[in-house]
């Protein structure tokens, strides 16, 4: 029991950065923009957090820096993409590489230094509980942030007026525009907000979950997983977060298995998230291919299963919106 509680606590904590990044990108993509730079910007933000934290002696300033880096990267995507009309995918990919290299370059002086860490908070009352106390009671503030954001974003996207407008913009920007919603402005705002969360994910890595900076840091690949999780989660905050915890569980499980089966090669565990990522994408995308649709047409049982798992992107995702050109 104790073991289970500790494992769950590990999952909650390990999954926190992934949850933050996934939630942030879900917001951005719900508005119709793809920010492909996640993998790089998480690393750059992580580096910034360590750098600022070390230079100022204050890990909170470091966390703030990481958020800022996320916003700045997202701003580049927003400017070059929607505003200047370049391909969002191309810009995002270039930024992934650039931010990663920038992170390694600028972070060089801070490598393998004893980094600042965010304090661990003990929640009064909860930490005293027998099972839940272990799972949720003692965590870094970023972990609590990730936990709080899941219901918060779910409420925002699905239960509020502004959230409805967000969904409208991602679905059919022309119709939203026709109803007086400020499409351009909101798309940029959500890209920046999403970027802030992505940056905080980087800070969560280097100030809490995998403290410190190095080359490699350990957060490599997380951005790509987050992007895939947004798809796997069907652009729904809760489902995406659950996917994040699934991957965190894989990681935690991997560490445990490694201890028990030292014969199994270490790379297997490091790499295991990625075949799983491909598998999850297959499951949610396959239903739209011709041959599966033909099969589904013939076997109604298959059709029900396919429909349940299909993830449909916001219809206007990644596409340019130019209302002036109409009419």
């Amino acid at each position: 029991m104790e073991f289970l509680a500790l494992t769950l606590a590990g999952i909650v904590s390990t999954g926190a950065p992934l949850v933050l990044a996934t939630l942030g990108e879900t917001l951005t993509e719900r508005a119709g923009i793809i920010n492909l730079s996640l993998d790089g910007s998480i690393l750059l933000a992580a580096m910034a957090a360590v750098a600022v934290g070390l230079l100022s002696g204050n890990p909170w300033l470091g966390l703030g820096a990481s958020g800022l880096v996320g916003i700045l990267t997202a701003a580049l995507v927003a400017v070059l993409g929607p505003v200047l009309g370049r391909s969002q995918v191309a810009v995002g990919f270039i930024l992934t590489l650039l931010c990663r290299d920038l992170a390694y370059f600028l972070g060089h002086p801070f490598a393998r230094k004893l980094g600042p860490e965010l304090p661990v908070w003990s929640l009064p009352g909860i930490s005293a509980l027998p099972f839940l106390g272990v799972v949720f009671g003692r965590h870094s503030p970023v972990v609590y942030l990730s936990l709080v954001l899941i219901p918060l974003l779910w409420w925002w996207v699905f239960l509020t007026g502004p959230g409805l407008e967000l969904r409208a913009i991602g679905e059919k920007p022309q119709a939203a525009f026709a109803r007086g919603i400020r499409v351009h402005y909101l798309r940029i705002v959500y890209t920046l907000v999403g970027g802030a969360l992505v940056g905080l994910a980087g800070g969560a890595f280097s100030l809490a979950v995998k403290p410190g900076w190095g080359r490699p840091q350990g957060a490599e690949g997380a951005g790509w997983i987050a992007l895939a999780l947004v798809i796997f989660g069907g652009w729904h905050p809760v489902r995406a977060a659950l996917g994040a915890y699934l991957f965190a569980a894989l990681q935690v499980l991997g560490i445990t298995l490694q201890e028990h089966f030292p014969g199994l090669p270490a790379p297997l565990f490091q790499v295991s998230p990625f075949p799983v990522m491909i598998l999850t994408l297959l499951v949610v995308n396959m239903g739209r291919t011709g041959w599966v649709q033909d099969l589904a047409y013939r076997y109604p049982g298959l059709r029900r299963w396919v429909n349940r798992w299909q993830a449909t992107a916001p219809a206007a995702l990644g596409r340019d919106f130019q209302p002036e050109k109409e009419g």
Partner: protein
């Protein structure tokens, strides 16, 4: 008369912007900007040995960028090219492992061919995930990149490890008879050079002069129309990936047989990702690819000097490369949206 001033203005703006940003980055780490850039450039061209090294890096970049011409023409984002290079290296190493005593030129040729098979296989897997599973090739390719990396690590630390010591320096070195012979003190093999140039020429010819290349371009521009014309877009996508993967695999095999003479964890050295930047910077104009590859190779080789001479990380080359491409995008975007709106693509 006016026709050349605009491109010139563009180039100047891009270079100026890139220089400014790079300088800002260098200032942030207290590095002297001009001196750093000087070391960088001299590091690539400062001596015959360095020139040879630069060309040794030029070859895989050229191979990969040329290959990407095909996939970009078909409308694909072949991010998986990094993994295709890795798999080429793995296959080549695997082919030669049964011959620890070495062999003749046919073995080497076989290894190169094996590398091409490995790369093509990896590429077609990503392609199949797209055509039959509707998984975007970015994610399929990326996932396979990491899997390829994991595979390499497992082989190096597992079945293929050096007896006695398993280390990051890779597998047992190949017998010298299996090494590609280098030109006098230049650490560059003529075989690699010829392979690179031939591949580039072949890709350009294929794309511009062959019916298959024309079909690829059609598929990339309008998949719906391609379907109507009976061009079988899905089949073309797989073919393009296969050829691209084969060239990438060749690059990986050359890294094993010609440069490192064994399999290393970082055998692909991010050449695949860099090649993507090259092709984007060249805006898919083939004639620009060899010079841009050379410049990028220069930066890569030069940046090796940075940790030694200035205690800076060698990823500065990647920073400059990324900044250049972004600057091009920025200038293009400004031109289109603000200076001359209404012009076509």
């Amino acid at each position: 008369m006016v026709s050349w001033t605009r491109p010139l203005a563009r180039i100047v703006t891009v270079l100026l912007l890139s220089f400014l940003v790079t300088t800002a980055v260098l200032v942030l780490v207290d590095a002297p900007p001009l001196r750093t850039l000087g070391i960088l450039l001299r590091g690539g061209f400062g001596s015959p040995a360095k020139i040879g090294q630069t060309f040794a890096v030029w070859v895989p970049l050229l191979l990969a960028s040329s290959a990407l011409l095909l996939t970009f023409a078909a409308g694909l984002w072949n991010i998986g090219i990094e993994g295709q290079i890795i798999l080429g290296a793995v296959f080549a190493t695997g082919f030669l492992r049964p011959f620890p005593e070495g062999g003749g030129v046919f073995l080497v040729a076989g290894a190169l061919a094996a590398g091409m098979v490995g790369g093509a296989l990896w590429a077609v897997t990503a392609g199949a995930l797209k055509t039959w599973g509707n998984v975007h090739e970015i994610f399929g390719g990326l996932g396979l990149n990491f899997v390829g990396l994991g595979l390499t690590l497992w082989l190096i630390f597992g079945p293929w490890r050096r007896p006695g010591v398993a280390s990051m320096s890779g597998t047992e070195p190949l017998h010298p008879s299996l090494w590609l012979r280098e030109m006098a003190g230049l650490s560059l093999s003529p075989v690699s050079l010829i392979a690179g140039v031939l591949a580039f020429g072949a890709m350009v010819l294929l794309l511009r002069r062959s019916r298959w290349g024309l079909t690829l371009r059609a598929v990339g521009q309008n998949p719906e129309a391609a379907l109507l014309f009976g061009l079988r877009p899905n089949r073309r996508i797989l073919e393009a990936m296969a050829v691209c993967g084969a060239l990438a695999g060749l690059a990986g095999a050359l890294q094993v047989v010609g440069v490192y003479h064994r399999l290393l964890p970082a055998i692909s050295s991010s050449y695949g990702y860099t090649a993507l930047l090259v092709t984007m910077l060249a805006a898919f104009r083939p004639q620009l690819i060899p010079p841009i590859c050379l410049f990028f190779a220069l930066l890569n080789v030069g940046s090796i000097q940075l940790p030694l001479q200035l205690k800076l990380d060698s990823s500065l080359s990647g920073v400059i490369q990324g900044v250049l491409v972004l600057a091009v995008f920025l200038v293009q975007g400004l031109e289109e949206r603000f200076l001359f709106p209404g012009r076509g693509r």
